[in-house]
Amino acid sequence: MCLSIPSQVVELHPETQSVTVDTLGVKRTVSCHLMEEPLAVGDYVLIHIGFVMNKIDADSAAESLALYKEIVEKMEAADA
């Protein structure tokens, strides 16, 4: 039950404090009652039991992914 999943905000519904998110093709509406900062279309968020829990820091995620890419490239260079 605790496997919160990354999703992307596709529509804002400020009148009901909710947003529609896309989770790899599945769209649903979730509550923003636990979010202080406003969300924008395109933001990445974690969803847990119908609520946005937080905004995913896209820069931090991209930084990690770049680091992993570097690790793999080094490994492949060493194997070559």
């Binding site: 039950m1 605790c2 496997l3 919160s4 990354p6 999703s7 992307q8 896309d22 790899l24 979730v30 509550s31 009652h33 636990l34 979010m35 202080e36 990445y44 974690l46 847990h48 039991i49 119908g50 609520f51 829990m53 937080n54 995913i56 820091d57 896209a58 931090s60 995620a61 991209a62 990690s64 992914l65 770049a66 992993y68 690790i71 793999v72 080094k74 490994m75 492949e76």
Partner: protein, 352 residues
């Protein structure tokens, strides 16, 4: 930097080549370890990742996982499920709970079995669905059997807040929200515990921030690395733990920076503090009673507390774990699940 795609948030952290390279770095470094590292992944979500991706099999023999007490369904003692079943048997009560909960056996059967006998028990995916059920059934009392660690408590708080705001008075709560740090303390209180490092939960930490594990680091001199749920996250966290051990450090680290901050979601914490207070004691399956390890509603929300309202009808008898049950030893790393005589036989969730 090209724009990040949602897919990369999944695939990028499941990349087999990255996992393989991290495994190779861990293996090299672990050769320098003076003693084995017994890592407790507190959260069941991490256990799931470790099993699903076969991570243990990628690690050297001197690194072991000890699966911790961080699943709110698994740690629920039978008497709480018995109380839920008793509530569901009261005429005009609709019991709602998160889907995972209904297959776990109490002493008289699981909620799924009570539902089969005709009780109105409704699994829901989102706590706010309980509002709608209450609105649609004004002549019934809807009881939300609330479960979950720090991750799920704020959602119950919002449900209560909305019920108050909208004047939906036929919605009550049976609160079983539990806390991670006291469970860690219960595991570490045993002088024979073999746990000497922790992977911190992912989404508990999103809410609480990584700050809640600082006392674990200070009190038990163990590394704690807060980790994401994907296999690359877990392997990177293991590498950090092994590095700390080899360098003789015990620190709080946060591998899951893309989602977890030191302070966490303060708006969510504020909602929890508004409606809940610490319960003096709560019994855990496998670990027994742990002081201050759960939450209850604050006195000003007593009118919403199903435990108080139906107190006379709820069984209070504490049901001990089966005498063959070794959950406590397993949680402390003193036994493996397969060592338990009832594992996979008597002790397995019943099919729906």
């Amino acid at each position: 930097m090209p724009e990040l795609q949602l897919k990369q948030l999944y695939d990028g952290f499941r990349d087999p080549r990255t996992v393989a390279e991290l495994a190779s770095q861990i293996k090299q470094l672990a050769a320098k370890l003076e003693e084995p590292v017994n890592v407790m992944e507190v959260c069941g979500g991490h256990t799931h990742t470790i099993m699903k991706y076969g991570l243990l099999q990628l690690l050297p023999d001197n690194i072991e996982f000890i699966h911790g007490p961080g699943c709110p369904v698994c740690i629920m003692p039978k008497e709480r499920i018995d109380q839920a079943a008793a509530l569901a048997q009261i005429p005009d009560v609709i019991l709602v709970t998160l889907g995972d909960m209904i297959r776990v056996p109490g002493s008289e059967g699981s909620l799924a079995q009570f539902r089969a006998k005709g009780c109105d028990i409704r699994p829901i995916y989102m706590p706010l669905d309980a509002l709608k059920i209450a609105q649609e059934n004004p002549d019934k009392t809807v009881v939300y059997f609330a479960i979950g660690f720090e991750t799920s408590t704020p959602m119950t708080a919002v449900l209560l807040e909305q019920a108050e705001k909208l004047g939906i008075n036929n919605l009550l709560f049976h609160i079983n929200h539990v806390l991670v740090p006291p469970a860690i303390d219960a595991v570490m209180a045993d002088p024979e515990t073999r746990v000497n490092a922790f992977i911190g939960p992912s989404h508990v930490s999103v809410i609480t921030g990584s700050q809640i594990y600082q006392p674990t680091v200070d009190n038990y001199h163990t590394p704690v690395v807060v980790s994401g749920f994907e296999p690359v996250d877990v392997m990177q966290s293991i590498l950090s733990i092994v590095k700390q051990k080899v360098e003789g450090r015990c620190e709080l680290e946060n591998q899951y920076e893309r989602a977890v901050s030191y302070k966490g979601n303060e708006a969510a914490q504020q909602k929890v503090n508004q409606y809940f207070t610490v319960r003096p004691s709560f019994r855990w399956r496998g670990l027994g009673p742990i002081p201050n390890s759960a939450l209850m509603l604050k006195p000003e929300y007593r009118h919403r507390d199903a435990e108080l309202k139906y107190g006379e009808r709820l069984p209070v008898k504490e049901i001990d774990d089966h005498k063959a049950c070794q959950c406590g030893d397993i949680l402390r790393g003193k036994a493996k699940p397969q060592d338990c005589k009832v594992f996979g036989r008597g002790c397995t969730p019943k099919p729906r």
